[in-house]
Amino acid sequence: MNDIKKRVASCFSNVFPGIQPEEIPTASTASLAAWDSLGHVRLLASIEEEFRLQLEMDDFDELISYPLIMAYLEKRSSNE
């Protein structure tokens, strides 16, 4: 769990270099200006690469906040 958090935070920092660590847990497309449509593609591509997974097209519509991304990754990890 902690490992997943750390890795996701690293993806956020890589894609949004201006983000403060304390902003990450509440970050969403609504709260973070840099998280626009292209930032979204960058972030999810970064997460795909980090976790060696391929998201479905629908996932791109749904994973629009840090909590949702974490929930998705935790669920996936518990199913493995």
Binding site: V15, S37, L38, R42, S46, E49
Partner: protein, 575 residues
């Protein structure tokens, strides 16, 4: 490089390095391609900052025009079939009926003709690395995938002719996308990401593309000379044991690897590479073998040939002296690891390669390695003249001190031609500036885009000097660049090829400057480097003493009093 590695590298780029601006021209979303391109550039230029400019999604042609008007100093252009006709991409619904495919073929002709004009404009402003389509065509033909359809072949032919055309525009380099990328075209396509975000590449494909673009835009300086061993390298066998007729390089003797190597040497020599030979042998035996008429290259191109029982490093040292080039510009090839080690110890900066022997697969890769070491975007006239002028220079050196006497120089019937044209399509001046070490005002290297930009400035002064005498032409051998400011001419770059030393061409150059610009003083932005002793000696002999900040100055009156004899005829070329 992975996407996350690229992002981390970009976030760490130095905030105070000099800024290099590149334009990535594509019709897709630039997304990870821009990221990976920036990261590869930062890897290549670690002390610099890199900015990537991009255009609008879906407007490849407009982005070409935008790049040509931008302040970028290099352009990376990536075109896909869908940029030539959107119906060849995944996001279109224009259909592939027989009528539509005919229209696609006609549209492609028009679009490529339009691109040609835009690329020409872009190439006139900055170096361009161009990548043709790397993604597969949609199945628009009537054939199974294993068979090429006529439509597909027609499109590929149009593209090939187009790329052949633009490859001849100075400054435009067409990329071989297969180089260093083992991905099939279908493994390059990320259909999901294309439909989702307009970005059609898998990350490995984007990475391979970015890497290729940087490799082509920032090519290492090509090596200038190759010194080859003879026995078991230029030919199979030991000529001292089996005699000149016993050595071989032929298919029928299963020694064709040596024959291929000979052909490569001939090809490199044609491209202006100096090729010499060093062998532990009797000279007469070597001469007899090199006189054989069935060699796969012209043995006259080997200069010098040293055959003796001295150490290889002694012969290599002598070759460097004759060529008058530095060890780091030379590749030494020998089959014997001990000889390689001995030469490498004596010349740590030299590239020493072991000849792969009669192993065809390794031999084939070895030829490719040589192409990478000596390859350059353009072969210039001066490259073809190099060997003849090195031979002439060696003859001059043999004459000794007498060679610099006014009587001797006057007898050369020399003609110095000074061109004042600021021609951005002439790649020779920048090549000279970026590869000359000895007669070099300050050792500063200049990027292609920065150079082209400086030529656009009205105050820029450029003198390109060519020389010929009774020994033959040397081609363009010196460049001086700077700017005029009232009665002062400021020189920021001045280089002269070592092939042109001892002919007082540098004196003629200054004289021509004073005459053309009618200035009272010439100021030089001088810096001492490890290797610009010849330039320093010239200044010293003329009585020019650089100040503590490196600024050196000479007045018209002083120059006239101290320049001595100007032995050659001078002509000028203007706009």
């Amino acid at each position: 490089m992975t996407l996350n590695e690229a992002l981390a590298l970009i976030n760490k780029q130095p905030g105070d390095g000099s800024l290099n601006v590149y334009f990535l021209v594509c019709g897709c979303q630039s997304l990870h391609l821009a990221t990976l391109l920036q990261a590869h550039l930062l890897k290549r230029l670690p002390r610099n900052q890199v900015q990537i400019l991009t255009g609008f999604y879906g407007d490849f042609s407009g982005n070409l025009a935008k790049a040509a008007e931008s302040n970028a100093t290099s352009a990376a252009v990536v075109v896909e079939w869908s940029d030539i006709d959107p119906r060849l991409g995944l996001r279109s619904s224009g259909g592939w009926s027989a009528q539509a495919t005919q229209d696609i073929l006609a549209t492609c002709r028009q679009r490529l003709a339009h691109f040609r004009n835009e690329v020409r404009k872009l190439g006139a402003r900055m170096p361009v690395a161009w990548t043709g389509p790397t993604l597969p065509l949609p199945p628009i033909g009537n054939t199974i995938r294993a068979q090429k359809s006529v439509v597909e072949l027609d499109l590929e032919q149009q593209l090939a002719l187009f790329q052949l055309d633009i490859a001849q525009i100075p400054g435009v380099r067409v990329i071989n996308p297969a180089c260093g990328d083992q991905l099939s075209s279908s493994a390059r396509l990320d259909a999901r990401m294309e439909l989702l975000a307009g970005f059609p590449y898998t990350i490995p494909a984007a990475n391979a593309l970015a890497s290729c673009l940087v490799e082509v835009l920032h090519q290492p300086s090509p090596k200038k000379g190759l010194i080859t061993d003879l026995d078991e390298t230029l030919w199979a066998g030991i000529v001292g044991e089996v005699g000149p007729e016993g050595v071989s390089w032929h298919q029928e003797h299963h020694t064709q690897t040596h024959g291929l190597y000979q052909q490569m040497l001939g090809h490199l020599a044609d491209c202006g590479v100096l090729v010499g030979a060093c062998s532990k042998n009797e000279l007469s035996t070597v001469q007899a073998a090199l006189a054989r008429t069935d060699l796969f290259f012209n043995p006259e191109t080997l200069f010098p040939v040293y055959a003796s029982w001295n150490s290889k490093s002694a012969s290599v040292a002598e070759t460097l002296r004759v060529w008058n080039i530095n060890e780091d510009a030379v590749v030494f090839i020998d089959d014997n690891p001990m000889e390689l080690s001995e030469v490498q110890r004596a010349f740590p900066g030299m590239t020493c390669l072991q000849f792969p022997g009669n192993q065809p697969a390794k031999g084939w890769n070895f030829l490719g390695d040589l192409a990478d070491l000596f390859g350059k975007p353009l072969v210039l006239e001066e490259d073809r003249l190099r060997l003849a002028s090195i031979r002439a220079a060696a003859e001059l050196r043999d004459i000794g001190a007498q060679a610099s006497s006014p009587e001797f120089l006057s007898s050369l019937q020399g003609v110095v031609t000074v061109s004042w044209r600021k021609d951005p399509s002439d790649k020779r001046p920048l090549e000279l500036i970026n590869k000359t070490n000895q007669f070099n005002l300050n050792g500063l290297r200049i990027g292609e885009g920065d150079w082209q930009r400086s030529l656009e400035r009205p105050e820029t002064v450029l003198a390109v000097i060519s020389y010929q005498d009774k020994f033959g032409p040397l081609g363009k051998i010196a460049v001086l660049a700077g700017s005029q400011c009232g009665t002062v001419l400021r020189v920021s770059s001045w280089v002269m090829s070592c092939r042109a030393f001892s002919r007082r061409i540098e004196h003629h150059t200054l004289d021509a400057l004073f005459q053309r610009f009618n200035v009272q003083d010439i100021h030089f932005t001088f810096a001492a480097t490890e290797r610009n002793q010849p330039l320093q000696e010239f200044f010293h002999a003329l009585g020019v003493a650089p100040g503590p900040e490196g600024e050196a100055c000479i007045s018209r009156v002083y120059f006239k009093e101290h320049c001595g004899v100007l032995p050659h005829q001078v002509s000028s070329l203007t706009e």
